[in-house]
Symmetry: C2
Subunit: 368 residues, 2 copies
C-alpha cells in the first residue's frame, strides 16, 4: 500500500555547478539524515534513502528538484508526513517546498473534505452562484455584542459567518458563551428570513480543548467551525476533522508563513487532503503579498478534481471591498466563497443593508 | 494579572517614508484585524487595539518596530499567544518576529522547564563539564538494530541518546517496540558501566497518540522524550510537558522555519518558556544557515537567567564532527550538550570507542 514513492518538488537556490550535490544532500536530509557511510544495511540505500528523480533549471540560480521519498518513512499520519516532506529542510534558507505528488493510498487514508464544496451548497441552498462569508470582529467585544453583529450579517443573508481567527477563549469572550450567543442569534435570524446561514466558531488550544469546544458546537446545533491547522498541528487538525463529521470545517492560514511552503500546496492541497471543506487565504491586491497567480493556483488546488476527493471551497479574504466583487468573481469563477469582514463591519448600524448588498451583488453576478 | 502589554519586536522591511503607516497596520493586524472605523466601542481603541511603542531604523530599509499587544487578547494558552504574536503577519513577507517581552504572569502560567539544565546534570551526574548526546539513525532500521546502536552509544558513555526526529511510528520501527527495545538496551548498558545515559524517544502524532507513547515511556522507566513543538502544535507540546513531569523534554526544531521567527526567540525563549529542558538547533558551520551570532543568542535565550525559570540546555547539532569539540566548547562554554549523530554512527562496529572518545574529549576540555 505504502510502497510507492512520494515525489516532492523543492525549489532550490544554487549555483548550477553545485545543484547535483545540493539535491543529493536534500534527499539525505529528508530521509536518513546521516552520511551514507552510516547506513549499515545496503538494502536501506535502495528502499529508504530518498532519491533525486530529476533537476530542472527554473531561472538562473534556481532549480526545481524532484525527490522521491520512501512512503514507508511517512505513514499516513499528517505531522509525520509534513516532517518527512519539510521538517529539517524548513530550516535551510535556500529551499522551498513547492509541490508534492502522493500515492493514492494517502488520499484514501486522509479522506479529504467530508462536506466539501457541493455539500456546503446543499447546506446553504446556494446553487448556481458564488458564495459569501463574513467575520465576527473586532477582538474585545462581548459574546452579546458579537451575537448582535452576527444577527445583522445573517439577516443580510451571507452564507457563512466565521469568528475572527483571533477570537479564542478570552476572558471578555469565552468560547462557550460566545458560541452559544452567536449560534442562537444566527439560528433566530435564519428562522426570520428562511435563510440557512452557517456559523463557524474558532476552535483552538490543545486537542482536549478543541474537543470541549466541539461539544458546545454539537450541543448548540452549530453548523461549522474554524481552525488554524498550522497552530493546532496538522495531526490534531485531522483528528478534529474526523470527529466533526457533518460540520463545515473552515481552515485558517494563521502561522502558515509567507512562502517557504508554496501556498497552493499548503493551504490548497494539504489542507484539503486533511479535510478542510473551505480554506481561507489572503487575496491578491489586499494587505498580503500573494500574487494573483498564487491565488489562482491555490484555488485550483483546493477545488479542481483530485482523484476521488471532494472539493474544498476557496475563501479569498484579507481586506476585500465590495467594489471588487465583479472583478474577483470574474477571476475566480463561481466556485468560490468571498470573505468580506472589516469592509462590511465599518457600516455599523447599516450592517444588515451592507451585507445584503454584498449578497445581492454576488448573486446577481453574471446573471446579466 | 494579564492587564500589562506584551511587547513584540518585529523587523520590517520598508521605505522610511512608509514605516509609520506600516507599523500601525501591523499593530491592527495583530489585534483587532479590521479598519478602526469598524471598532464600535471607543474603549477598545485603548484597551484592545495594539499600539506602536517605537520604531528604530536598523539598517537602510529595515526597521525594528516595537508593538504593545493587549495581554487580554492572548490568555496563557500557547497557540493563542503565537496566534496573536504572528498568526497573520507570518503571511506578510516583509515582517520577521524578532523578540517578545512577556509580562511575568505568562512565566508563572507556562512555568518553563520542569527538569532544566541543573536537573539534567543531577540525573546524569554530569557536573562541571559540558554534556554529550547522540542520535539513533538511520531511518529504516528495526527496533533491535536501533537498540544495538543505542547500546554501543551508552557503553561509550554519552549523556543522552535521542531518536532521530524522523523516527515516528513506522511499520519497520513501531514506537512501542522501539522504545521498549532501546530503553532496555540503554538500561542494561547503564547497569554494565555504572553510567546514567538518558534515552529520549521521539513522540509524535495527535495529543492522544503522544499520550499513548508517554505511557510506554513511563512503563519502561525511560528518562526522556523528544518532540517537535512546531509539528505537534505549541499547545499540545505544553500539555505534554505538564504530563511528562520528571522526564527530560527535548525540543526538536523540525518545521520551525529558517528565520521568519527569529531562532533565538522561537527555539530558545519560547520553547524554554513552554517547558523544553533541552533544545536542539542547527549549529553554525554545518549544513544549516544559522550564523555563529544566531547560535550564541539562541543558547543565551535558552540558558541565561530569566526571572525564576529554570535553564534549558542548548543542544547544537547538524553535522558536528568530533574535531570541532574544542572549538565549540570554547564558543558555547560548558552549559551546553553537544549532539553528534551521523558523525559517530559512520564508525559502525567501532561505535562504542568513537562515542567514548567523544565523551572523553568533552570531559577533558579545559581541565588542562
Amino acid at each position: 500500500m505504502f510502497s510507492q514513492r512520494i515525489v516532492a518538488t523543492y525549489h532550490v537556490d544554487s549555483d548550477a555547478s553545485r545543484i547535483a550535490d545540493r539535491a543529493k544532500s536534500l534527499a539525505i536530509e529528508q530521509s536518513v539524515e546521516c552520511p551514507l557511510e552510516a547506513v549499515p544495511d545496503p538494502e536501506l540505500l535502495e528502499t529508504i534513502v530518498a532519491r533525486v528523480e530529476d533537476i530542472a533549471e527554473l531561472t538562473a540560480g534556481r532549480f526545481a528538484v524532484r525527490i522521491g521519498l520512501a512512503s514507508a518513512t511517512a505513514p499516513a499520519e499528517p505531522g509525520q508526513l509534513m516532517n518527512m516532506l519539510f521538517g529539517n529542510s524548513s530550516i535551510q534558507q535556500d529551499v522551498v517546498l513547492a509541490d508534492v505528488e502522493l500515492p493514492e493510498a494517502y488520499l484514501h487514508a486522509f479522506g479529504g473534505p467530508r462536506v466539501g464544496l457541493a455539500g456546503i451548497r446543499a447546506l446553504t441552498g446556494a446553487y448556481d452562484r458564488a458564495m459569501t462569508a463574513s467575520a465576527l470582529k473586532p477582538q474585545g467585544l462581548s459574546p452579546d455584542a458579537l451575537a448582535g453583529i452576527a444577527r445583522q450579517l445573517a439577516l443580510g443573508g451571507v452564507d457563512l459567518i466565521k469568528d475572527d481567527h483571533g477570537l479564542a477563549d478570552q476572558a471578555y469572550s469565552p468560547f462557550a458563551a460566545r458560541a452559544v450567543a452567536v449560534g442562537r442569534a444566527v439560528r433566530e435570524a435564519n428562522a426570520t428570513t428562511g435563510g440557512r446561514t452557517i456559523y463557524a466558531p474558532n476552535i483552538s488550544g490543545t486537542l482536549d480543548d478543541m474537543r470541549r469546544q466541539l461539544d458546545v458546537i454539537r450541543t448548540e446545533a452549530i453548523g461549522g467551525l474554524l481552525v488554524a491547522p498550522m497552530i493546532v498541528g496538522l495531526s490534531n487538525f485531522h483528528a478534529i476533522v474526523k470527529e466533526a463529521d457533518g460540520l463545515v470545517v473552515v481552515a485558517h492560514p494563521a502561522l502558515a508563513g509567507a512562502a517557504r511552503i508554496a501556498p497552493p500546496l499548503l493551504l490548497g492541497r494539504m489542507f484539503r487532503l486533511l479535510g478542510a471543506d473551505a480554506t481561507v487565504f489572503p487575496n491578491f491586491g489586499g494587505r498580503f503579498s500573494y500574487t494573483a497567480d498564487t491565488c489562482l493556483a491555490l484555488a485550483g488546488a483546493a477545488r479542481n478534481p483530485w482523484a476521488g476527493l471532494k472539493s474544498c471551497i476557496p475563501m479569498p479574504a484579507g481586506g476585500i471591498h465590495v467594489d471588487r466583487i465583479a472583478e474577483l468573481l470574474q477571476f475566480y469563477g463561481q466556485d468560490v466563497m468571498l470573505l468580506i469582514g472589516g469592509g462590511l463591519l465599518a457600516a455599523r448600524e447599516r450592517l444588515t443593508e451592507e451585507a445584503s448588498q454584498f449578497v445581492m451583488k454576488v448573486a446577481a453576478h453574471g446573471k446579466g
